[in-house]
């Protein structure tokens, strides 16, 4: 097999992994925003916190993996619900206050964790399996395959949940128009609370899947928020299709840059994708919804 082919298969596989990671990260943020119009800037904080909770139960207390993961996901969901109930519900409609309060909360979580010394090699979640599989001449670790599979499963499950259950219907109703939803007996506050809980749970799942690839560090919390925002802005905040497409665009561009230009430039890719899309289509690739009214 010629060398060029090997390189391109490596690019395809790594690009795929990278894209799914980005999609997983952005998914929780976009779910919450799409349903309740709350931009959850505490996202990075929740991500790292649920990683730390998972680590604490798994490594420190020696719980079995499913139990530790459940605890982590459940506590993230609870945290999201509490954030809505005790913070955002008071501030509903004051967009500035919503942004600032969630942002401040995220900072509090992250910087408190930093003060408590969450950093370094001790803080790492064990991967499901240390093995790797050879696919078309490139080795891919099992963990990365698990990420791809779970990302796909999560997307399908969420789609089924939103389109086939009563709560999912209520979600879509509130997303379209919360006043009208209220008149037909859906409580928008309750649904918004659930949306925040759901977003945080997806965030926690993403954390448990992705964090084993490296160590848990506070700075990653900021990175996650930035990446989620960049993907959401490129894809259009309300659209899941847009999120998936945007994460594939950014994911593959990143890998391409790393392989053919310079690996130090990867971090620039999301920024430039974002600025470029803002110049051409300020509402993002798929964000047609209420384009004129809300964004421009």
């Amino acid at each position: 097999m010629p060398v060029g082919d090997e390189e391109s298969t490596a690019m395809i596989t790594y690009g795929l992994v990278n894209s799914v990671v980005l999609a997983l990260i952005a998914l929780g943020f976009s779910i919450t925003f799409g349903i309740s119009r709350v931009a959850n800037f505490a996202y990075g904080g929740i991500y790292i916190l649920s990683g730390v909770i998972g680590w604490f139960f798994l490594v420190k207390l020696g719980f079995p993996y499913p139990l530790a993961a459940t605890v982590s996901v459940a506590s993230a969901g609870l945290l999201g619900a509490l954030i809505y109930r005790f913070l955002l519900q008071r501030l509903r409609g004051l967009e500035l206050s919503e942004v600032i309060s969630t942002f401040a909360l995220g900072l509090i979580i992250l910087e408190t964790l930093r003060t408590m010394g969450v950093m370094g090699f001790d803080y790492r979640l064990p991967p499901f399996s240390r093995g790797s599989v050879e696919i078309l001449g490139t080795y891919v670790s099992v963990q990365r395959l698990v990420i791809i599979a779970s990302g796909a499963i999560l997307l399908i499950l969420l789609h089924l949940f939103v389109h086939n259950t009563k709560i999912g219907l209520a979600f879509r109703g509130v997303a379209q128009d919360d006043h009208t939803a209220f008149t037909v007996g859906i409580n928008p506050d309750k649904i918004s609370m659930l949306s925040l809980a759901l977003g945080s749970m997806v965030c926690s799942v993403a954390a448990l899947l992705i964090l084993p690839l490296g160590t848990i560090s506070v700075d990653a919390g900021y990175d996650i928020l930035l990446k989620a925002l960049a993907v959401c802005i490129v894809g259009g905040l309300e659209s899941t299709t847009g999120i998936v497409l945007a994460s594939f665009i950014i994911g593959y561009t990143e890998v391409f840059t790393a392989m053919y230009i310079s690996s130090s430039l990867t971090i620039v890719v999301p920024l430039f994708c974002m600025l470029a899309i803002l110049l051409v289509r300020p509402s993002g690739l798929f964000g047609k919804h209420k384009e004129l009214e809300e964004r421009i």
């Binding site: 931009a39 800037f41 913070l87 008071r90 501030l91 004051l94 967009e95 500035l96 206050s97 919503e98 942004v99 600032i100 309060s101 942002f103 401040a104 909360l105 900072l107 509090i108 910087e111 408190t112 930093r114 003060t115 900021y222 928020l225 930035l226 925002l229 960049a230 959401c232 802005i233 905040l237 130090s264 430039l265 971090i267 620039v268 999301p270 920024l271 974002m274 600025l275 803002l278 110049l279 300020p282 809300e294 964004r295 421009i296």
Partner: protein
């Protein structure tokens, strides 16, 4: 039952019965009523700067510079542009004057003004793609840009990379830096307050309330937003340039999140949209953050906790509260 429910009645003091900016003054007492709140802060700041020991003088100076950042944030917010990345403008000013001094060798009295204007222009150009966005979409983009640019400098090693630039010429003495800083802070306060009250400034304020209406009135909102960003970012760039020469070095810490959070926290503690509130807030938070400096990153936690508390519990802020107490008498009726 209703007899037991007492209501607080607020009555404007006589002098406020006129309009907001035209007063009918008939006695020294009334002149004093208007002048004291305007002169008192200036006098207090001047006195503190004269009397405090050198260490706290420096703390005050940094608080004054941060007050400029806070007022610039407050001004931009009054125009409907809520930025979460004020550090970007600071850093652009800091690197601009740093490189002018370090690579070109221009003296400080040229590099600071050039960096102020040039930094403002550069920041405006960089933010321009995001200017068509509104509300929280704009905030998201401004949050991303400085943190990403920091990575760019880290990765590409331009402008001194992670180590930054050092050996930048310093102010000729402590008093010159204190003088420049104080005059700049007070001048910014007066300038922005006058600006916001003028006919020209009214367009900015109107953009926050309803930019479609402003557009419909025949103003080009994009162009006015560009001007607002230029004014705000030039002020921040001045702060960056000043601090570069003050510390004699510039590094990636200019992009740090602290610098984005501080103006926000100061304005919210002081009262959003009042400018004086931002100044007051910075004067409170500056020394406070110095006091908790020993705790390292716990500093950010302190700001954020204060921020959260004020947003939820005291949304109006300190300054509007004081103003109300000063201008109105209250009684139970």
């Amino acid at each position: 039952m209703t007899d037991f429910i007492k209501r607080k009645e607020r009555i404007d003091r006589g002098i406020k019965a006129c309009t907001d900016d035209i007063y009918c003054l008939s006695s020294l007492r009334e002149i004093a009523y208007l002048l004291i709140p305007r002169l008192l802060p200036v006098l207090v700041v001047a006195l503190l700067l004269l009397l405090l020991p050198l260490y706290w003088k420096k703390v005050m100076l940094i608080a004054l510079i941060m007050a400029i950042m806070a007022m610039s944030w407050d001004f931009m917010t009054s125009c409907g542009l809520v930025s979460l990345g004020q550090a970007l403008f600071f850093a652009i000013g800091a690197y601009f004057s740093g490189s002018l001094n370090h690579y070109v060798g221009l003296p400080l009295c040229i590099s600071i003004p050039v960096a102020t204007v040039g930094g403002g222009l550069l920041s405006t150009a960089l933010i321009f793609p995001a200017l068509r966005l509104r509300g929280m979409y704009f905030s998201m983009v401004t949050l991303i840009i400085p943190l990403m640019l920091m990575r760019v400098i880290e990765a590409t090693k331009i402008l001194g990379g992670t180590e930054g630039m050092s050996a930048i010429s310093a102010f000729p003495g402590v008093w010159s830096s204190i003088g420049v800083g104080t005059i700049a802070a007070v001048a910014t306060l007066v300038f922005l307050r006058r600006l916001v009250c003028s006919d020209y400034g009214l367009v900015f304020i109107a953009m926050k309330d309803n930019d479609n209406a402003v557009e419909a009135s025949g103003f080009n909102t994009l162009w006015f937003k560009v001007q607002a960003i230029f004014i705000g970012s030039a002020l921040c760039s001045f702060c960056g340039a000043f601090m570069t020469h003050y510390h004699m070095s510039v590094g990636m810490s200019a992009f740090a999140l602290d610098l984005s959070i501080f103006p926000l926290a100061a304005s919210i503690v002081g009262g959003i949209g009042t400018l004086t509130g931002a100044f007051l807030g910075a004067m409170i938070l500056g020394p406070l953050s110095e006091a908790v400096r020993a705790f390292g990153s716990f500093r950010v936690v302190t700001y954020s906790a204060l921020l959260l508390f004020f947003v939820v519990a005291v949304p109006e802020g300190i300054f509007p509260y004081l103003k109300r107490k000063y201008e109105q008498t209250e009684r139970w009726s």
